[in-house]
Every structure is written in structure tokens, then in C-alpha cells.
Symmetry: C2
Subunit: 164 residues, 2 copies
């Protein structure tokens, strides 16, 4: 019995629904649009979702990145270049599916015992680490992905494809 892990696994699927609710309404042309001029566009947000979903496995000690080159392109704080300078939206959509499948597998294999352990990217004393445990990493990652879904939804609203 791993009730907390099972709850996180179910929540992960709920989270995916929230992302796909916005993403599936946006065409590739929509994704190239900026939400706030000069700050970001849908292609960057989708890439950022992939990069941040991908590195969860490093924090949980569950294997390598699928797309290591995206950490330098799409990690938080990376400059946002013109949409056409990034991989195509079709490729990014496939890669989003791939990181979702990877995280579905990882969540399904979690045990409650490991959730209270320090995460695998702790440097120094775990008590001083911002996230601390693997459980708290999962909570923050789920919140972060929903936060990005909200930004994609604003883009969908901008092109008249979603209520807010």
C-alpha cells in the first residue's frame, strides 16, 4: 500500500489534463504568438514544460533526461528568442507526450517510503534545501506545471479559444 504515491500518480494525470486543455486548443501558429510582447510565446512555454517535466527524474533519482539539450534552451530564466528559432511545435508536442509517458511510469513506481527521503539533487544539508524531500519536489513540480498551463490558457484566451 502506497497511498500517497498513488495520490500523486492520480494527480499527475489530472495535471496533464490541465495542460492539454490549453495545449490541444492551440494551433502551431497560435503557439508562435507572444502572450506579453517581448517576454514569452507559446513555443517557449511548451519547451519549458518539457524541460521542467524532464528534470523531475533527476530530482527523484529515476533516470536521465530525455532531452538534455533543452535544459539550456528552456530552463527558467533562459532568454526567449523568436519562436521560429526553436524546434518545431509538432516536434515539441511529440516530446511533451514522451515526458508525460516517462513521468506516468515514474509516478506509478513510487513508494511512500521513498517520498520522505531527500531528493537526489540536494547539495549540502537536506534540511537547508529549498525542496527537501522527494514528496515536496513532486508537489512543487505539479504546481509549476499547472502554473505554466495557466499561461498557455491565457494564450488560448487571447486567440478566442478558451474562457479564463
Amino acid at each position: 500500500m502506497n497511498p500517497v504515491s498513488a495520490s500523486f500518480a492520480e494527480q499527475r494525470l489530472v495535471l496533464e489534463q490541465w495542460v492539454r486543455f490549453a495545449l490541444d486548443r492551440l494551433t502551431n501558429d497560435d503557439l508562435a504568438l507572444e502572450i506579453i510582447p517581448g517576454r514569452n510565446h507559446g513555443v517557449w512555454i511548451l519547451g519549458h514544460l518539457i524541460a521542467s517535466d524532464d528534470d523531475l527524474s533527476l530530482f527523484l533519482g529515476k533516470g536521465p533526461l530525455l532531452f538534455p539539450e533543452y535544459q539550456a534552451l528552456f530552463a527558467q530564466g533562459c532568454p526567449c528568442r523568436a519562436a521560429g528559432e526553436y524546434p518545431s511545435p509538432d516536434l515539441l508536442r511529440e516530446q511533451w507526450d514522451a515526458v508525460c509517458a516517462k513521468n506516468t511510469r515514474i509516478h506509478a513506481a513510487l513508494t511512500d517510503d521513498e517520498l520522505d527521503l531527500p531528493h537526489d539533487m540536494v547539495e549540502g544539508n537536506p534540511a537547508d534545501d529549498y525542496f527537501g524531500t522527494k514528496a515536496r519536489v513532486i508537489m512543487h513540480w505539479h504546481m509549476h506545471q499547472a502554473y505554466e498551463a495557466g499561461q498557455l490558457a491565457l494564450l488560448a484566451a487571447k486567440v478566442g479559444k478558451s474562457v479564463l
Copy 2:
């Protein structure tokens, strides 16, 4: 022992951090700004966060709304009027604190046994209900609030107060 409830209670505090990260950077003047012209502004998002946080207690069977009048003002799909037509940002900030305190109390008192029960706003057959159980209501509400936090963060980015 209520490990899943305890996990949700901790996640609720994580979620509050995500909202406050953006909200605390925004002045009252910032909140009056539109993110996407003609669609929404920070005052509406803050009111929507209050209304949606408040009605969690109805779904969990944990007591009445604190601000019932906000359901018609700030529920999903309500038209967004000019920011000056809504309660003041200072009042909304206080009311956000009040719904957070209410939900901290509600989360602290949850038991795992009740999480798998149908939520209290089910009409008809629970198996046909979109959310179904109280656990799934909590997951969706947490995702939703983080989704709105992402939109507030875009406003913070628009006024140069946040990275994305």
C-alpha cells in the same frame, strides 16, 4: 494516520507560496492592469482565486462560503468589468488571507477515509460526476489555483517584477 490528507495539507501550503510569490510582487496599481487587453486583469484574477478557494468548502462538506456574493462576480465565465468596479485590492488581499486560513483549517482536519467519498456537490450518480471524489476535487482545486498563480506571474513579468 492520514498520510494522504497530510500530503494535501502540505501541498496546500506549497500552493499558497506559489500564489503569494506573484501576488506579493504586485502593487494595487499593477493588479488593475490587464494581462490581455479586454480579457482580464489582476483584480479579477485575485477575486477569482478567492471565489474558487472559498467554494472548496462546499465540495468537501466543510461549511459555508465566506464571501457568497463573489460567486456571481468572480466565478469562471463571469464577464470581466473594469478593475475599478470591483472591491478594492486591499480588501481582496485581506479576503484572500481569510480563505487561505479557512482552507488551512479544512485541510488540517481531513481524514483519508473521507477522501474517497463522493464530494458534496455531486448531482446524480457519483460515477458520472466530473470530479467524483473529494480527493479529486482537492487535486483539481490545487491545480486550478496554481494555474491562476501562473497568470498573476505573467502580470508580474509584464511590469518587470518576475522572471517567467
